[in-house]
């Protein structure tokens, strides 16, 4: 329950260049400045005005029963968007399409100018390194500790051990897990695992952050802390897309809301609310 604490400690400037760890810009030490430009120069995903473009996207896992039908979504760089919908309405499917975990049955998907569907398969890892993703089922590596799980995301993009050793504890602190650094996933509670997954998603400060139900296993207070953190991350320019059921959170944040129902987009509303009063 230390999201607040984490934020404050972040603010007293340990020399770590997490811009969104505090409201004020921190002095960036010389040896770190190369490692932490945001947006990364020469990034795979250039900063384009249009971050996500989906047109006429449909996904049929099995014939007859589509998981997504004719979805058109345009998301600009720097937006903060909620995706809401009943269980089974296609939220996770949409996120998995953006991560190219799946290919759509029809339609086109362009992320930051890159055609995701026609992308060469060797390029896919580079796409994914520029998208942070919080998975609904966490997807932590069971043989790695919390620290190693997060470090892995940095090792993949070839960060130096020095950078890893400073950044990983910092993000773990931001999600309130500084004392669980060496725990394996099966030694963590559900909410703790979810927070490790969140930390992994933004540790390499990707231009695009996808989160599938990031607070499903968290109590309201911790959820709020995570949401505030995501908002801060968004403020530094990261595009954030969150699939969620958390009515309270959606209603509090008053951001753009896209609603799905049976795979169809039924609502796209700026400064929206969760909807469905029952």
């Amino acid at each position: 329950m230390v999201i607040g604490r984490g934020r404050e400690t972040g603010a007293n400037g340990r020399g770590f260049c997490y811009h969104y760890a505090s409201g004020t810009a921190l002095p960036v030490p010389a040896d770190e400045s190369r490692a932490c430009p945001r947006p990364p120069s020469g990034s795979f995903l250039e900063v384009m005005p249009r971050m996500i473009h989906m047109r006429n996207v449909s996904k049929y896992y099995v014939e007859d029963k589509p998981a997504l039908v004719d979805v058109d979504v345009e998301i600009q760089s720097g937006e903060f968007v909620f995706i809401v919908g009943h269980s089974g309405s296609g939220k996770s499917t949409l996120i998995r399409l953006l991560l190219r975990e799946l290919l759509p049955t029809t339609g086109e998907i362009v992320i930051a100018g890159q055609d995701v569907i026609r992308m060469k398969s060797w390029k896919v890892p580079y796409l994914r390194r520029n998208i942070g993703c919080v998975f609904q089922d966490f997807k932590l590596l069971p043989n790695k500790t919390a620290y190693e799980n997060i470090a892995f995301a940095l090792e993949v993009i070839g960060k130096s051990r020095h950078v890893i050793r400073t950044q990983v504890p910092e993000v773990l602190r931001l999600v309130g897990l500084e004392d669980k650094i060496d725990s394996y996933p099966d030694e963590l509670s559900g909410g703790e695992q979810q927070r490790v997954s969140i930390a992994r998603a933004f540790v390499n400060r990707p231009p695009l952050l996808l989160a599938d139900e990031p607070t499903g296993n968290l109590d309201p207070q911790t959820s709020l802390g995570i949401m505030k953190l995501l908002e801060r991350i968004n403020k530094t320019g990261t595009t954030v897309l969150i699939a969620t059921h958390d009515r309270e959170m959606v209603d509090t944040m008053r951001q753009r809301v896209i609603a799905l129902e049976g795979g169809r987009m039924i609502r796209d509303q700026d400064r929206g609310v969760y909807g469905y009063v029952d």
Partner: protein, 305 residues
């Protein structure tokens, strides 16, 4: 992307330790497979030795008529001795021939020889070849020698004057060829079997970790980033397996070979140090190769993007 060698090595070692059930399984598989290969290689060395020692006993005898001109005999002997195929030529006089006959063929009833009035055995030249397989070729050469017709004991039927136990040689070669083919087939079979075992073990290991691999994918790890630790792990396992197999073979060689040798003094059962070093080298190299190839194949199947 700066390639982080340290990362890969650390990763493989850590994986090896953490997934010890899988690692142990692979090590045992490789160990046993290589042990089988090693045993058959050693067997083939032993058999080759035995075959060689038998082959050495094959020679050509040229029978010489009584009262042949001794300078002709010497010139034939010299001509044959100079041939590339020949290792040595020895002259055996009539008396020596009778003595050998009495001592070897008639060992059990020497009294028969004593009954003989005169020596019915001819003198001969004993030709030993470098490679007994060339026996037919050498026979042709001898027949073509002009001195041969002069000295041979039956100029009417020159082939009767040459003895080289045609049939024995043929039988022997048939046998040694069969032994060689059977051994080669056996080693081949064991090699294939080992390869399948190892491929299988790696496939199971990857199957057991398919979720992990999927997660690495989704976090943006490239093919080689995922593959390398698996490959290195495969190599580590292979090396451990090979080391264990070599150690076991060494112990067997030191402990068992001398006893078998005692029990079978007439067979040359030793595997010399060079041969056993070669076998060890083969095991290490093939172990590593099999580990790498097996892992690569298994990874290919499960590691498409």
């Amino acid at each position: 992307m700066s390639i982080n060698l340290g990362y890969f090595i650390r990763e493989s070692v850590v994986n090896f330790r953490r997934n010890w059930v899988l690692s142990l399984g692979a090590v045992i598989t490789i160990y046993l497979s290589l042990l089988l290969v090693g045993v058959s290689l050693a067997t083939s060395v032993v058999v080759t030795n035995i075959v060689k020692s038998v082959e050495e006993k094959v020679s050509i005898q040229i029978f010489i008529k009584d009262g042949a001109n001794s300078s002709d005999v010497t010139s034939l002997q010299n001509a044959v001795a100079k041939d590339d195929l020949v290792k040595s030529v020895r002259y055996i006089s009539k008396e020596e021939a009778l003595r050998i006959f009495k001592e070897q063929t008639m060992k059990e009833s020497p009294e028969i020889v004593e009954q003989l009035e005169d020596n019915p055995l001819p003198a001969s030249l004993d030709v030993e070849l470098k490679d007994p397989r060339n026996v037919e070729q050498m026979v042709v050469k001898i027949k073509a020698n002009p001195d041969f017709l002069k000295v041979c004991d039956r100029p009417d039927k020159p082939e009767e004057s040459l003895k080289y136990s045609e049939q024995t040689v043929k039988k022997l070669f048939a046998l040694t060829n069969i032994v060689r083919v059977v051994l080669a087939a056996f080693i081949g079979m064991l090699a294939v079997v080992s390869l399948i075992f190892i491929n299988n073990a790696i496939r199971l290991a990857i199957y057991a970790r398919r979720k992990e691999i999927g997660i690495m994918r989704l976090v943006g790890a490239g093919n080689w980033f995922i593959r390398t630790p698996f490959l290195l792990e495969g190599v580590i396992q292979s090396l451990i397996g090979a080391a264990l197999a070599i150690a076991t073979l060494g112990v067997v060689r030191a402990a068992l070979m001398p006893r078998i040798g005692e029990a079978l003094p007439f067979l040359p059962m030793s595997v010399n140090t060079t041969a056993s070093l070669q076998i060890s080298a083969v095991l290490v190299v093939s172990g590593v190769l099999i580990g790498l190839v097996g892992a690569a194949f298994a990874l290919r199947r499960y590691l498409k993007v």
